[in-house]
């Protein structure tokens, strides 16, 4: 039975997903998102006024920050089972996952550091806050590569029984393209591309949440199929040896 561990990693996602929803809601700076046009004094005042919320949220995010990595490694393992000529997309996928996770951990530390000394020079608080938002919203290149690798592996999965249905590949491409424009939050302080904008923030977060939810069900059925195949193999082996 090789699928028990995969199931555990899979069910980690909804559990930590809910904790993320709670932490993001509790942060006060996400719904609605803090504006990049706030002055240094306003940013400093925001941290002073919401100190308890920010600290509790970001300490929770620190603890659960990379908790979705086991979920993504289930994808890696399923990619390895695909009928591709080499494992190159699985390896590349894993490398991209590692880097995406590192950036979120960095954002979290910058937020916590900004909240650590509320009486710090407001300019420094703003600097840490800017860095946190950059690292949180803009490193979309890793998601792009991740989803591209998964999509290509699915397209090239030439086996009689593909591991993932073909629409999963299309879905990965579309979600990657929807999240990609967030990189422009490095350039714009106002409008839909700013880090609090309709595209860079709302579309990005909504797409990501939907992506995790859909992939959860896709993975659940892929792991189930793997388990069924292994049971079948075992029982036929028993019949042969009996």
């Amino acid at each position: 039975m090789q699928t028990k561990d995969q199931r555990i990693c899979l069910w980690i996602a909804p559990f930590f997903g809910l904790l993320f929803v709670f932490a993001f809601w509790n942060f006060q700076g996400f719904f609605p998102p803090m504006s990049p046009t706030m002055s240094a004094e306003e940013v400093a005042a925001f941290y002073r006024d919401h100190l308890g919320h920010i600290r509790s949220s970001m300490i929770l995010c620190n603890v659960i920050g990379v908790s979705l990595i086991p979920f993504f490694t289930v994808i890696v393992v399923q990619m390895m089972r695909m009928n591709n000529a080499s494992r190159v997309f699985s390896y590349s996928y894993l490398i991209a996952v590692i880097n995406g996770g590192t950036l979120f951990a960095l954002a979290d530390l910058a937020w916590l550091n900004a909240a650590y000394r509320p009486d710090r020079d407001p300019q420094l608080t703003m600097l840490l806050n800017d860095l946190a938002w950059f690292a949180f919203i803009t490193p979309v290149g890793f998601v792009l590569v991740q989803n591209f690798c998964l999509a290509m592996a699915v397209y090239l999965d030439k086996g009689p029984a593909p591991i993932f249905p073909r629409w999963v590949a299309h879905f990965n491409i579309v979600t990657a393209l929807l999240m990609a424009p967030s990189a422009f939050a490095l350039m714009y302080k106002t409008g839909p591309l700013a880090w609090d904008g309709a595209i860079s923030f709302w579309l990005h977060i909504a797409t990501y949440a939907l992506y995790i939810a859909v992939m959860f069900f896709v993975l659940r059925s892929a792991v189930q199929k793997q388990a069924d195949e292994e049971t079948m193999l075992q029982s036929s082996w028993k019949e042969q040896t009996a």
């Binding site: 390896y91 590692i98 350039m187």
Partner: protein, 258 residues
Amino acid sequence: MTGATLASIAGGESRKGRLLSNPKLDQWICFWSIPVFYILFGVIFVLLGRIMPPPTPTMSTENIIAFMTSPNLSLAVVLLALSLGMYALNSGLMLTQMKRMVGVSPVLRYAYIAVLGVGGLPGCLFPGYMFALGAFRPEYDPEILAMLYDLGFLCFVGSLGCFIIQYVVFTIAVFLDKRGIFPKWLGYFSIWTLVTELVATPVFITQTGPYAWDGLLSFYQGTLIWVAWQTSVTICLYQAIKNQPLEELGLPLKENEL
């Protein structure tokens, strides 16, 4: 691989059909991402960002502000944030080819990609963010802008260790490999590149002269040799994929072989 498909690859199908039925298509996609990535790298750091060749560490505050607010610096970092992930394809491909080596255990290929995974962030994306922060808010205090400037260039030119271990691991793998996936001269070349990284170590303690971050030894020598090395590795990778026998292309791995 059946005889019929092999014949159709060799024979006269349409160009597109041939491309799509190429049995090594997955590796070729990753391979061609390498030139695309390094061309983008040039556009980002040389043409748009003016980060390479680097300006002097002894720049005045006004000039630092001028550098940070130059029109295309933010756009350069946006492109970097969008494209840096592509190096994961490069690393994945390297791992795939290193896997074919004989007499080399997984330890070296895992070390190779892990080290690269570490290096990309402090050496590339983080400095990009430092410059983007300055470009985003030129109204920061001048001391903050000066710090972002230093932090950006010290990380960009001075992230040495990750790449040193990359060369060490790669060199050992090339020399141990009994199958000659990569030529031995590439191993010697890697040692040379490694030495240029060591030469750059004084970058953290000097602001002028050949060892500064815009210096002849720390920057120009290292960059020149690195470009030559990267080009050689890319050509050797091309040969390695091309010479890989079709029988090696594979079935899905079982769980204990990952």
